[in-house]
Structure formats: C-alpha cells, structure tokens
C-alpha cells in the first residue's frame, strides 16, 4: 500500500511538472500526460460507451479538452483525476445525444430522466430472454452488456464511476450535475435494473445447479 501511495505521489509530481512545461509553451510535454493516462481513460470510456470506436473518440476529445482548459487546472488536483472527469462529462453528453437520436429514429417507449417512473424495471425485465438461452459466463457478459445499454446515461455513468473506478458519491454528483442524494439514488437505480436484467440468468444457473448440470 505504501509503495502504491508513493508511486501515485511520484506520478502526480511528474504530472505537475509536465503540466507546467506545457503551459510554459512546450506542447510536446503534454505527450507524457497523454501517454501516461490514455489507458485509464480508455477503460472508463469503453465501459460508458460500450464500444471501441466511441471509446477512442471520447479519449481523444477528453485530452483535447484538457489541453484547452489546462490553465484552469493549474496544479490544483491530480491530472489523472481531472482528465478522467472531463472524459466522464464528455461521455455522458455523448450517451445522451445517442439516446436522443435513437429515440427519434425508433420512437420506443423511453422514460425520460427525472420523470416519475411507474415501473422503471419493466423495460429491462420484458426485454430479458428466456432462462434457457442464458448460460455460461460469456453469455453473462453479453447479458450484462445488453443490460448496461438499457440504463439511462446518468445511471450508466454512475455505476461505471462507482463500481469500477471507486469514485465517491460527491465526484459522481459533480459529473451528473446533481446533489449527492440524487447521485446515490441513481447508482441504486442502476443496480436495481441490472439485477432484474440478470435475474433470469441467475435463476437458470440455480436450476442447473439443482439438477446437477452445472
């Protein structure tokens, strides 16, 4: 743990130097920051967008925006955390735009964010395939991917930031532009939807275990 802490401190310090160099007019110093943080930002972007092409676009745009706003950063926080937040903000905007385009094209019964939801889970539940179709971990991953696609952009952002990246509720609230209580509810709503989407899979596995086929 100590080594990790020291490593993080050392990265933050050398990031701070690279930021200073970039701001003093040396554009190539920014390369170090891009090369160091791209993989981490990519993982967030992929989990949020669900595909490689969009994820790569989010990464590029995040680093471009970070460069443009570098004077605002001014060494007040960790550069990695800062660019991560920029990427999350851009990705959520992109998800919202995509959902809105999809809904115009397909005109499905979508529940707008923030509106009272009479049965928020029915969409996921109805779309679920039969338990027979669900077996094996590859199918579980595929099922989870599908379930993530049914989440609203805010829910998806919240669960990605909370579960995979261990972000605090305040940080999630900042990206969602909401208060902490609403952000907490958004995470919970996402978990509820995912759970219901996976329920047939869990039941199928339970049944398989009971008859000794798994």
């Amino acid at each position: 743990m100590r080594a990790n802490g020291e490593q993080a401190r050392s990265v933050a310090i050398s990031d701070a130097v690279a930021v200073e160099r970039t701001l003093s007019g040396e554009r190539d110093a920014y390369r170090l920051l891009v090369e160091r943080h791209s993989q981490y930002v990519y993982r967030l972007a992929y989990r949020m967008t669900g595909n490689k092409e969009d994820a790569e676009e989010v990464v590029q745009e995040a680093f471009l925006r970070a460069y443009q706003k570098l004077r605002q950063f001014a060494g007040n926080a960790n550069f990695g955390t800062w660019v991560y937040r920029i990427a999350a903000n851009y990705a959520i905007d992109r998800l919202r735009q995509r959902k809105s385009e999809d809904s115009r094209r397909e005109q499905p019964k979508r529940i707008a964010e923030g509106e009272p939801e009479s049965d928020p889970l029915s969409e996921v539940k109805d779309a679920a395939p039969s338990p027979e179709r669900l077996a094996g971990s590859a199918q579980l991953a595929a099922k989870m991917k599908e379930a993530l696609d049914t989440l609203t952009p805010a829910e998806r952002t919240a669960i990605v930031m909370r579960h995979w990246d261990g972000c605090g509720i305040e940080e999630i609230a900042a990206v969602l532009k909401s208060n902490t209580s609403a952000a907490k509810n958004t995470v919970f709503r996402a978990v509820q939807k995912l759970r219901l989407a996976l329920q047939p899979f869990a039941e199928a596995r339970g049944a398989a275990r009971a008859v000794g086929t798994e």
């Binding site: 701001l23 003093s24 170090l32 791209s38 490689k52 590029q60």
Partner: protein, 268 residues
Amino acid sequence: MKHATEDELFAYREGDAKGREAMAAHLKECAECRAELARLEEVFAALDAMPVPDPGEDYGTRVWRQIAPRLPEKRAGWWQTFFVPQRLAVAGAMAALVIAAFFAGKKVGPGNTGGSETAVEAASAEKVRERVLIVAVGDHLGKSEMVLVELSHASPADSGKKLINISAEQKRAESLVEENRLYRQTALEGGDNAMASTLDELERVLMDVANSPAEVTPAQFDSIQKRIAEHGILLKVRVVRQELRTAETGRKSQPAQTDSMAKERNKV
C-alpha cells in the same frame, strides 16, 4: 427486525453508517436477507466479469499522434515560469534567488526571506514549486539508477542462454526517456549546465536501452553494459541524487553548501 428492503441492503453494502449494526445483526439471523444480499453481490460480480478490450501498449502514443496536430501552441503566463529565473525577477528578487539557488547548487535559508511582502509571498510559492521539482528529478534519477544497476549487475553469460530477455528494463527505459528530456530542458533553461549535461548523458544511455531489441545476444548485452560503464553514468546519477537529497533536507535544516558537489559531479 422485519426483512430489509433492497435499498437498505444496497446502503449496507455501500458502507452507510446509519443502522449498520442493526443490519449486521439482522443479517446474521435472517437467511432470506442474506440470500438477497448475495443476489445483489452477483450483480457486481457480473460487472467485474465484463471484459474491456486491451487497446495495446502503444495506445497512448497513438492517441498522441491523433491529437497532436490539433493542439494549438500555448503562450507562457508569468506564473508558469518557475523554471526560468530571469523572468522571476519581476516577482521579486527573493523568488528569483530561490530558484537560481537550486540550479546553481546553492541554498537559501528560511531566515533569509527579507524584502517586500510581495517578494516574500512569491518566494514562498516558488519554494513549493522548487520542492516539487527537486522531488520529481530525484525520483526520476532513482528509477533510472535502478534500471542501470539491474543491467550492470546481471551476469547473463553465466546462464548459458543464447538470448537474454531485457524487455522489462527496455520498457522502463522507454518510459524514462520522455521524462528525462523534460528535466534536461528544464535544467538547461534554468542555467544548470552541469545538471543538464548529466541528464543528457543519462538520456543517451536510456535511449540505447530503449532502442535495443527485447531479446539480445550475450555479446549485445555485454555491449550495453560497456556503454553504461564507459560513461560512468551510474556514479554521476548517484552524485546528483545525493545533491538533490541534501538540497531537499537542507531547505529545512539549512547547512552550508558550496559548489564542491557540483564540481565533484563534473569531475566524474
């Protein structure tokens, strides 16, 4: 206690303090709620099972190539110039002295912060930045030293292997080259030619390692070791690190410092 609701179980899993003890006690007693919590855990386990495709080790470089042509040049602001002593003169003579002292291998004591309030404030801010730079360069040299020591002390010829894998050292050297360039230019602009020269030599050796094949023959490995030895770079790196350590601790304890160490470094 009645059965826990899903959001109560979720809050418990999230570590919420409210009603935590009562919930823990209830879970011990209630198999139904334990099963419910386990089902919730399955969701998180399923999330963990989701793969993210590996974009490749050179992904950062590819991102850079894609965005670099779209990045406009930045103009330096007055406050970003902590590496450039002559510009600091406008912020007060004291601040300039602090930075210049670093590059000249001299130190300035905490008691010497005379002058106007502006100068003192500027000096204080610059001291923080100076410390950042000292720690950053010291850390970089430590990592470089480790790579060079590992390569210098290995005796692969004894192992009888036809090819020696140096990919781990190679990758580390590769990541150190870029940082080294940054610090070298910084030292150069700051007027510390001796530091810049040491970093320049280090950069050449790191580049040699970074550009070597991942697997080398014993003869090639021997040649890498010779290149490290003939420049005496390890000793120079150690001397500079020692200087930086002294500079860092000296900022607090303020012992006398002379140019002797810089001379020593240049003698190596």
